[in-house]
Assembly symmetry: C2
Homo-oligomer: 433 residues x 2
């Protein structure tokens, strides 16, 4: 039995490693088009900033490690150009073929520059791979740019803005949508805008970009451009052999992470996963999901029987020391999904006043009919990560506000107030019913 | 209709405030034996330490606030000595009587010095009220003690030890049990011991104290003693009128926080609550529970219909900057409750290595038969509060390890690693099945 994994970053390597645990005798080959594997792409903005000194710090495992310790054949610089499923072969750019019995597609995503002209200029960057980040660092060092435009106000966009501002550049972030962080949430957008502006970064929303000119973008003069306008899943080689593509444009899978083509699995930034709150497939490409779904794909490809329960869409981003964390649905998203949402937003101390606690904002969204929690957001400098995770855990267990309001959360003055902001938000939300 | 609340700290005032919301016309009287109300008792060790400068910072509300803003008659220095339920009256120490239709008993607990001789010496302190803490501060300032013994290794005991050590005293903590923090958990005790010893505090477990001598305790020379050897619920006036006392020695209540005597409710440090993991009543006196159960008691006493879902026993304590957080059952406790527990304990980075993350220890306990989570503990300097709250939330929703392992937790380098320590612990635990 041979398992071939296309892609050697998060989902691909999680799949391979898990497959090895399930079946010690399986032949496993990982084909990665890039020069390195297993890197923490989410660390790239911090490498650009300089807080992470060496790109090598972002690499968790090497091909040698996988070869020696796991008996997994990892080949870098190896691009798959097509799949012949009837022959159970993948065709490489080099012309060589690799046979498989089971296939895991973990081809990831690419930056979506569709519709923007001028992306191939030397002062235009994406921040997707280690090479991207190294090229950006070199440009910063050698060209000393003074003014940057970041196209796209998603996670990478605002993190890049933060990093470039710390290098002393004037920075403007543009987003074609009216909101940032991929969330339809006006107050979160306002909070992000305030934090950016307080640190000298301008945010302009509702600004579509058609063209990057050599010295300006959308009439903003600049000598550096970061393009982070969204992800496009790499589904072409899969689609060509009849793998079903979901409505989102990413590969459709079942809860075992198998595609409609038996023996072909998909996971990571190229694939959809189940959204526990909506009960429908979603495309929310994140490293955490890639790792978890990859493990399930690998286990099943190796003969195991595991399922991926799905996601609730939890994410967090730090902007100049302030955390912006969201999970589940915003009230707008909930409405569009057919719920009758109610919401409450409160501001409270993250820790007791007498312990110098700072303010944190918590929003909770619930369904009027079922009283079930649908989503939440936490913005603050302290404890946002822990609090969004509590909401996420409640979402995964389909908790109602009534139960959430009485959660037995830890209290001690150095850590939290006796009424945690989460519980205050829940009390407020209950008044809406 | 008149509601009388006996006790004006956490549970009593939560009950009164909630009753007012439910019924704006109810006559509400709160009788508090002490001179102040509504203080954060958990802040007392930090007042002793000096980090909280004024005792007044620990007082959240004054009787005047309740009178003016809530139309609640709060009387301090008013001790209830007995209840005459047939006459619906409480009798005060002054000889006066106060009539009620509904009664909330929130009489709290007292330090349990049973069996220890010599507790009334001037160098012996408890840390239960603001007066206790003020007296201790004065003693520290005026008498400059050099060596303290803390009797009892519960939360207050270790926090007091921390505070006194920061004042420069040599400190020894004694506990009659083999474990500290009221948890049967040898590794947590070992971790506490190491943290205390690393900061110059000695811990001796399995040492019962019979007597406090003027210059020594259990052969340890000292010129100051802190007694924090446990809580004893104040149930006497309730028991005298036939209110049922549970096995724990605290007042038994139903899920509406009503006692067996109709119209008489109880909440806070004098009452039991339901433990969601064991499904049985438990006595775990904590401020968070007092506030929540008090709200429910007050709502129902005012004619509402609310229920308290119960607790999972979450707590956290900081010792010299390290958090020790526990929830649910330890493996020993689970065994004693009749489960067949399995557990796993891992050490992992609280944040990515390349982001200077520190190590954190996570233990999870689950039931072999049902795969349901039963408890957990987190020890570390970063993120322990958020992580224990995630476990607590999972316990309240009776989550199985399989679901917990796939929780969609927030990831971004400044906050957490891509595999959160909680998920690594769950992966490890799954290997035990």
């Amino acid at each position: 039995m041979a398992l071939v994994v296309v892609g050697g970053v998060a989902a691909g390597l999680s799949a391979a490693a898990r497959a090895r645990r399930i079946d010690p005798r399986l032949e496993i080959v990982v084909l990665e088009k890039g020069p390195v594997i297993s890197y923490g792409a989410c660390g790239l903005p911090y490498f650009v900033e300089g807080r992470v000194h060496e790109a090598s710090q972002l690499v968790v495992y090497t091909p040698e490690y996988f070869r020696k310790e796991r008996n997994i054949d990892v080949r870098t610089g190896t691009k798959v150009v097509s799949i012949s499923h009837p022959r159970r072969e993948v065709l490489l750019e080099s012309g060589a073929r690799v046979r498989y019995d089971r296939l895991v597609i973990a081809t990831g995503a690419r930056c979506d520059s569709a519709g923007i002209a001028g992306v191939n200029q030397p002062h235009v960057f994406t921040l997707h791979t280690i090479e991207d980040a190294e090229r950006m660092r070199e440009f910063l060092r050698e060209r000393q740019p003074k003014r940057a435009v970041v196209i796209g106000g998603g996670y990478i966009g605002v993190e890049a803005a933060d990093a470039l501002r710390r290098h002393g550049l004037r920075v403007t972030v543009l987003d074609r949508s009216v909101n940032v962080l991929l969330r339809e949430d006006a107050w979160v957008t306002d909070a992000v805008r305030k934090q950016l502006e307080d640190h000298g970064v301008e945010l302009r929303t509702g600004v579509p970009v058609q063209q990057i000119e050599p010295d300006r973008v959308a009439d903003i003069p600049c000598d550096m451009v970061v393009l982070s306008a969204g992800f496009k899943p790499n589904v072409e080689i899969a689609a060509a052999v009849g793998v079903e593509i979901g409505r989102s444009g990413a590969i459709a899978t079942d809860e075992r992470m198998e595609t409609n083509v038996t023996g072909v699995y998909a996971a990571g930034d190229c694939a959809e996963v189940m959204h526990v709150v909506t009960g429908r497939p979603a495309y929310i490409p994140l490293g955490t999901t890639a790792n978890k779904a990859g493990r399930v794909a690998g286990a099943n490809a190796a003969g195991g029987r595991e399922r991926f329960h799905g996601i609730v869409g939890t994410s967090i981003v730090g902007i100049f020391g302030m955390a912006f964390a969201t999970t589940g649905l915003s009230i707008e998203q909930a409405r569009r999904e057919g719920f009758s949402p109610v919401s409450a937003r409160i501001e409270a101390q993250a820790r007791p006043r007498y312990f110098q606690g700072r303010k944190t904002t918590v929003e909770l969204v619930a369904d009027r009919a079922t009283r079930r929690l649908l989503g939440g957001a936490v913005v603050g400098e302290e404890g946002a990560s822990g609090r969004i995770n509590v909401i996420a855990t409640a979402l995964e267990s389909r908790m109602r506000v009534d139960e959430f309001e009485q959660l037995d959360l830890a209290y001690s003055p150095p850590f939290a107030p006796v009424w945690d902001p989460l519980l205050i938000a829940a009390q407020q939300l209950l008044k809406e019913f």
